[in-house]
Symmetry: C2
Subunit: 271 residues, 2 copies
Amino acid sequence: MTTQQLHEQILQKKSFLCVGLDVDLTKIPEHLLATKDPIFEFNKAIIDATHDLTVAYKPNTAFYEAYGLKGWLSLQKTINYINEKFPDIFTIADAKRGDIGNTSSMYAKAFFEDLNFDSVTVAPYMGKDSVEPFLAFENKHTIMLALTSNEGAFDFQTLNTNGTELYKQVLETSKSWKNSHNLMYVVGATKAEYFAEIRKIVPDSFLLVPGIGAQGGSLSEVCKYGMNDQVGLLVNSARAIIYASKGTDFAEKAREEALLVQKEMEGILSL
Amino acid sequence: MTTQQLHEQILQKKSFLCVGLDVDLTKIPEHLLATKDPIFEFNKAIIDATHDLTVAYKPNTAFYEAYGLKGWLSLQKTINYINEKFPDIFTIADAKRGDIGNTSSMYAKAFFEDLNFDSVTVAPYMGKDSVEPFLAFENKHTIMLALTSNEGAFDFQTLNTNGTELYKQVLETSKSWKNSHNLMYVVGATKAEYFAEIRKIVPDSFLLVPGIGAQGGSLSEVCKYGMNDQVGLLVNSARAIIYASKGTDFAEKAREEALLVQKEMEGILSL
């Protein structure tokens, strides 16, 4: 998918919501546990209930790997379901990978070819040759961690490096990498005021924004500082939507929560 | 496994070699491709041929994920085979994971519980709460990237942060984390002179050292600067050993290569 197609989808749905599919078997409705593949059944119901309100789905691979082979199968079935039934929706493998060149190529193959995700998240610590193998895939997108939404973000990401914070150096340096037009960035919503600074460095890139909802960020603040003329934001919400209810009405309640966010986004987009 | 047990194994085998099981189907002997699970058959033969010369095996998860479900199954069979047949050998899931707290807990569960590895590699960028969930597992080890062996290491890891290089700040900061005694660190062999500086910060920790062999690092140089009185080094070699031959003699040739390294290590340990 191109960023142009993603932008068109945003305008059409009046939404830039990404739903995080971080499925924990201890948190999903009990009646699903009797099914053959509870994780997939849960995802399928959530997707069917929210696909017209969201422009992206983001399974976090940790939640699938934790269940071993069965989990990996659930992930495969989930991405196949989205790609077959809702091919216009942008898909993100939230994997935070990154390794030396030949190894990153294997990860890129895993997520872009074998699983056929539109994008994957990567970590920047190992630098250029750990990220460029992902960038080599045209019409696939590599979403690099810049400033994350957790407390530990302040351990290293905001350290002063040569007069600027490390995360700004990461953003700046990455612009010189081959095929950097395929980069997007993770920027946590808990630090809305940082978006103005970030937009000076990467005015045109899409930003994937976790931290709305359970982690406490404000949507309007993020949009105020982070939106560009292509919208340029994908705002993720996971727990607040997918665990809105633990009853048999979980999908319906998830839709209600997603609709609240979508309506707020529609309001912001119409300004 | 405790680090004490690892140290005893090193003394007994006169080796601190770690064999990297980075299995690429395009590089393994053709006759294996006709078997039901070529990756596992390859690993099994390599393990059977080298287990008395090596103290650790390190499958890189990328190489398994690239083959989807079948690859994950090969990884599971490989770790189970090592754990059952050679339970004294230290196992490393080279996964370079790291995410917000509840997600890192899921990764820790995947590698420490579901797959039962002794250790997993993690990336530091997201800071304390992305690593501590791994450290919570007693007698499991979390091997954090400090200074890697690739070219991109110089993009961010060696940036000057508050008067010192970022990787030194990473080492220093991590010592204050909860259960930091369960930390080991990745330090690339291509920069042997850096080991002296690193040992000032983490004198007692085990260091996992990639970059010997295909990446060009010198074993004697690394040992000169990096060894401590518990040895404190696990030196990884992957391609130079596992791809020593593409013929039916691949396991035998892998043993010959491993033996060369082990003999060099034996010489160093006897000094």
